[in-house]
Amino acid sequence: MALNKLKFNSLNVTPTAGKAIGFNSSADGLEATLSGGAMRFIKKLTASSSATLSFVNGSSDVVLDSTYKEYIFVFNNIHAATNRAQLTAGFRDGSTNYDATVTNTYFYSYNNEDDSGAGIGYATGGDLAQSTNFSNIGTALDNSNDACYVGYLHLFNPSSTTFVKHFIVRGNSSYITSGGTVASEEVYAAGYCNVTAAIDAVQFKLSSGNIDAGTITLYGIN
């Protein structure tokens, strides 16, 4: 016996693309208005002694195009193989290289665990001015077993072919000085890819050595 399944047009509601079906506000009918929230998971990459972690539109289920006007990369428990390595990001603007021209700012807030120093400051060593280098989005990481870096990078409208592409970073790290002093350090980096070509891929890597462990998760914001 053939099994009859209810088709999309079997319900007493007008089908609406991409909408979920719920009960209406009076609980006496159906409606197709639920959207499931504005923040959508796209892809998680997990580092395992990784030289780079790359999000490439159209590859491995990654979406990084006009589908969303805003993307958020969340980095969690980034652990460096090499002491004092910094997390960096590169943006791809049409070629195979992550070399989109960037101008950005970088400032920080720190406090040493031994209470020997604290403050905020702008770091000219962390910013870029019309550079094709990777952008610093983290500070010199302590690579002790329990130390790591967390934070987010918002990338706005990467598919625009009219405007430059702005990004905003905030993170908190287990920072270590060259003398071995450990601190909590907050990082604020922001800037733009000074290109009108679409950005279709973002790559993360450390300034030296591998990303020993950690995750970077990409979300799209409706």
Binding site: A32, F41, N76, N77, N111, E113, C148, T217
Partner: protein, 220 residues
């Protein structure tokens, strides 16, 4: 007349655990609904409250490895006492007391209503270097009827037993001296024990009113 109910397998799609039912992108078929990544877990509302606590496994609170990132949003926090600080601390799994070791930073931007003073500065009064006190998120909050603080606080991977637990927050509020203040706190609980309880309170007096919401952000 008998009433016919449709069961889970009555619809023309492959069922998927814990997913909703949605129309596809062409509106000509069914598909499982795409979920949002940010889920409201719990809302606590202050009413002359000494503390507001989010405890994993209690009162429907989830604060474990279900989510890798948690986000607290505090809205219109109004203190009973003038010029007090809004703060938070954690209790590790199996521990007692909100007294985990914190190293943190704290800086602020401020501007008075009279347009006579502005500042951007680090505030050593509110940071901690391996301290166990409550971490200030808002310093010097006024208690006038229309004065309050709002902001948000991220907590990363509190269930980790490998890494310290990082957090950072931003607050916007009405300072007791009629300033607009924007304060930023960031740091870590310097423990490899899992954190499964977070408590908010004022440095003195009750939280007269306000709401704190806890969200989980999934990564799958």
């Amino acid at each position: 007349m008998a009433l016919t109910k449709f069961n889970f397998n009555s619809f023309d799609l492959t069922t998927a655990a814990s997913k909703g039912l949605a129309f596809n992108s062409s509106a000509n078929g069914f598909e499982t609904a795409v979920e949002g990544s940010m889920t409201l877990i719990k809302t606590l509302t202050a009413s002359s409250s000494a503390t507001l606590s989010f405890v994993d496994g209690s009162s429907s609170v989830v604060l474990d490895n279900t989510y890798p990132v948690y986000l607290f949003k505090y809205i219109n926090i109004h203190p009973a006492t003038d010029s007090t600080n809004f703060s938070f601390q954690a209790n590790a799994s199996g521990g007692s007391g909100y007294n985990e070791t914190i190293t943190s930073t704290y800086f602020k931007a401020e501007h008075d209503e009279g347009d006579s003073a502005t500042a951007l500065s680090y505030d050593t009064d509110f940071d901690q270097a391996q301290g166990t006190g409550f971490q200030t998120l808002v310093g010097g909050l006024g208690n006038g009827n229309d004065e309050s603080a709002s902001g948000q606080l991220y907590l990363f991977n509190p269930s980790s037993t490998t890494f310290v637990k990082h957090f950072f927050g931003v607050s916007q509020y009405y300072h007791k001296s009629n300033y607009s203040n924007s304060h930023r706190a960031g740091g870590y609980f310097n423990t490899t024990s899992a954190i499964d309880e977070i408590q908010f309170k004022m440095s003195s007096g009750n939280i007269d009113a306000g709401t704190i919401k806890l969200y989980g952000i999934k990564d799958s």
